[in-house]
């Protein structure tokens, strides 16, 4: 996969602390990395290292305590139109009272688009995730994997240039997970999106990405950034049989394992961000 034209996203010395004084939780200490246009970057780290917080800062949902996120050189202060976020809790991020179609349509309603254009976008997005036949279903009538496909379709319909994904496949079974990973690789080609993908699954991070950003435990820093030069298209069987895959996987695994032997009390649980925030 060619790494296209220059940086789109730059995370500069990003830090985030919850609370103040004695009770302050130093979630992220100092995280810096850049994402090239068209690149697939996976962010992995030990559990509780603030991956979700990091992604919410990148997506403009949380303001970083220090440092900044630059999107094509411009500071991100609120959710940019160029980005779409796919959450882990697909079941909770879909509207149970709306059909699959209307869920995918939600982010398009306020965009200045012709009605036919909206329709086309929703149709294309549903086709890309293989849910065309289910557009009139309610999300809860579908399996977990299919619900996550709806969430992905909704993100695609929004036409982002950058897709942020927060452990999107953490709560589906292994078989479905493999299918969804391949689906993401496929839509990345089809829609030419840049993807930042947070996961705690080391195999997944190596299998999907061009680069893996390995984080330390909280207060979080970047431990190492690893180039993944596995050939595309990737395949659940042949790619994972490659010696390079095993090597990279082992390398990332060691980095994270070394993190996790640190005293348990340091592995702070990820605090719940204030949910009442509105933009």
């Amino acid at each position: 996969m060619s790494k296209g034209g220059g940086q789109v996203l730059e995370i500069k010395k990003l830090g985030k602390t919850y609370g103040t004084g004695e009770r302050a939780t130093h979630a992220i200490a100092d995280v810096s990395f850049a994402v090239e246009d068209g690149e697939f970057v996976c962010v992995v780290g030990p559990s509780g290292c603030g991956k979700t917080t990091l992604l919410k800062c990148v997506g403009g949902l949380l303001s970083p305590g220090s440092g900044e996120v630059l999107l094509r050189g411009r500071k991100v202060t609120s959710p940019p139109e160029e980005m779409a976020l796919v959450f882990q809790e697909y079941g909770r991020s879909l509207m149970p009272w709306s059909s699959v179609w209307n869920n995918v349509l939600l982010p398009l309603r306020h965009k200045k688009l012709a009605a036919t254009k909206r329709k086309t976008l929703v149709e294309e997005a549903l086709a890309a995730v293989g849910l065309t036949r289910f557009s009139h279903h309610y999300p809860w009538q579908l399996s977990g994997g299919m619900q996550q496909r709806v969430a992905i379709a909704r993100a695609l319909a929004y036409q982002p240039s950058i897709l942020l994904m927060d452990e999107p496949f953490a709560s589906v079974d292994a078989q479905t997970r493999g299918d969804l990973e391949d689906l993401v690789l496929q839509v990345r080609e089809e829609f030419a999106v840049t993807i930042v993908f947070v996961t705690h699954d080391i195999d997944e991070s190596v299998y999907l990405s061009d680069r893996v950003v390995v984080l330390t435990h909280a207060p979080t820093e970047v431990k190492e950034i690893i180039d993944v030069d596995l050939p595309f298209p990737r395949d659940q069987i042949t790619t994972k049989e490659l010696p390079e895959f095993a090597h990279l996987r082992g390398h990332v695994y060691r980095l994270i394992k070394r993190e996790q032997v640190e005293p348990a009390e340091l592995a702070l649980a990820e605090p719940v961000p204030e949910s009442g925030r509105r933009g």
Binding site: L85, H110, R277
Partner: protein
């Protein structure tokens, strides 16, 4: 038992038991000859005379209109205030003590002052009174419903740049709707109570007024007929609301069933 047979049996039982009770009442009143308890057949004849023909427009229509207006106003105001209060912590801090205070007020205590303040013993006073006491269950349930919205849903909408008003219309309101309906069910039965209360206290028309006049003139059959009508009205209004809820919240039952699996 097959599903169809089960349904038929359930409906039959639902109908059979009240019929048995009514038959027993008729049998007992027929032999008791107690003027306080007229025969059921007498009450039903009175009921037909009074409510289905001559007095329908004069007394039933005004009562139903008052319920509809009072309940409708309570619904609109309750949701319109409940949504912002559900979204705003400071709003709740400021408003909740007042809401709790008025909610704890027994309605009859406010009946005299409502007449004085509104200079009215007509529809204005009755509709306002019904609306006021129907407001609280709807308001409190709306606030609860809004507060219970999954933050993930709001955050998703925000990340897609969905504006505040659209978030309220497309997410907050539908998400709170099951709770709003719970409040509406409570309020609707309150509306019937308040209707009778205001009409019984001061009125020139309505079912409650007929109840009062019959009492004052010792006409026990019309009094019983009024009581029967009030019961029937309350029951039918609730059935109507449940039918609407069943339709509007079909998604909610499906979703809950799916989540329970």
């Amino acid at each position: 038992m097959s599903k169809g047979a089960y349904r038929t049996a359930a409906i039959a039982a639902e109908i059979a038991v009240p019929i048995a009770i009514l038959a027993a009442w008729q049998a007992w009143t027929a032999q008791a000859h107690d003027p306080k308890f007229p025969r059921l057949s007498t009450i039903l004849v009175e009921f037909r005379e009074l409510w289905l023909f001559s007095q329908f427009e004069l007394h039933v229509v005004p009562s139903l209109t008052r319920i509809a207006l009072g309940f409708g106003i309570a619904l609109l105001v309750g949701v319109a205030i409940g949504i912002p209060l559900g979204l705003s912590r400071w709003g709740r801090i400021l408003a909740m003590p007042h809401i709790e205070w008025w909610r704890a007020m027994p309605p009859p205590a406010l009946l005299p002052i409502s007449i004085v303040l509104l200079h009215s013993i007509g529809n204005r006073q009755k509709v306002s009174f019904i609306a006021f006491f129907c407001l609280f269950p709807i308001l409190l349930n709306t606030i609860d419903g809004v507060r219970g919205i999954d933050p993930a849903l709001m955050e998703t909408a925000r990340s897609y740049g969905v504006g505040r008003l659209e978030r309220i219309g497309r997410i907050v309101f539908p998400a709170a709707l099951p709770q709003i309906f719970a409040g509406m069910r409570t309020s609707l039965s309150l509306a019937v109570i308040m209707m009778v209360l205001t009409e019984y206290f001061s009125s020139t028309s309505g079912v409650g007024y007929v109840l009062l006049i019959s009492k004052n003139t010792f006409q026990l059959a019309p009094m019983w007929a009024a009581i029967v009508l009030i019961g029937v009205l309350g029951y039918l209004l609730n059935v109507l609301l449940v039918l609407i809820e069943h339709r509007v919240l079909a998604w909610h039952r499906g979703w809950r069933a799916a989540a329970a699996q």
